[in-house]
Symmetry: C2
Subunit: 145 residues, 2 copies
């Protein structure tokens, strides 16, 4: 028995190893596609919808506005995103994904989901769907902090 009298384990203590496994799964996939993790995160966020300012994008992916600049530099240079000054307010940069960027994002995500499914395959059938829904609900409610 590895369980304790205290009832249940901490959520973070359970999610930590899970996160490490997921990252270990993702890293080789990302490397195979020639893209770094945060860059993929940016690409995914922009694939969901364009963003008006870099600060908003940084906030959306849980990063700092200063941290994503070099990432955006590289993505733009590779033609994976566009990054244009807003004509209405030339201080802000309008960000969106290009067709090429979207194709890369979808290819990477398909591979990642395939690997994730192996991990989720250990779950009973109905549980898997419920779990994904619950995670989604919690993660979106967690953003409003």
């Amino acid at each position: 028995m590895t369980e304790e009298a205290s009832g249940r384990r901490d959520l973070a203590a359970m999610l930590g190893p899970l996160m490490r496994s997921l990252i270990a799964i993702e890293l080789p996939v990302l490397e195979a596609h020639g893209i770094a993790m945060w860059a993929y995160s940016v690409l995914t966020a922009l694939s969901e919808s364009p963003v008006r300012t870099q600060a908003a994008l940084a906030d959306e992916i849980g990063a700092d506005k200063t941290r994503i600049i070099k990432i955006l530099d590289e993505l733009q240079e590779r033609g994976l995103i566009t990054r244009e000054p807003d004509p209405g307010d030339r201080r802000v940069r309008l960000l969106s994904v290009t067709a090429k960027g979207r194709r890369l994002q979808q290819a990477v995500q398909a591979d990642i989901h395939r690997e994730e499914d192996r991990l989720l395959g250990t779950l009973p059938d109905g549980e898997r769907q419920r779990f994904l829904q619950t995670i989604h609900a919690l993660s979106t409610s967690a953003r409003g902090e």
Copy 2:
């Protein structure tokens, strides 16, 4: 509609914000009890069961053997853990939690669970229990990587 044609979002992309929320919840609690996050992680691991080598403990909490040394130094100095050379092999250090350490761990964990329950309170009733079970199953199966 924030959803994409791609089906579902990445697990890591959903768990990331959730982890950040949990850490944001834990930090003030840990600070109030005067213990750092990794130190609490060590205390929790040793509260579940003693460990024979420091490397095994490090592995168990997902850290590096060199990283936990100063943490163990402090925990020992504060009388929260014991750390004795194994008489049978004096290279290894036998690690266990003291009564004082266990009391602290339980106090901190109680506070953390209380805060976590607020977050989980947004879930429908039955779903919450199922979610905890699934997370537990996945996290333990994730350790065998």
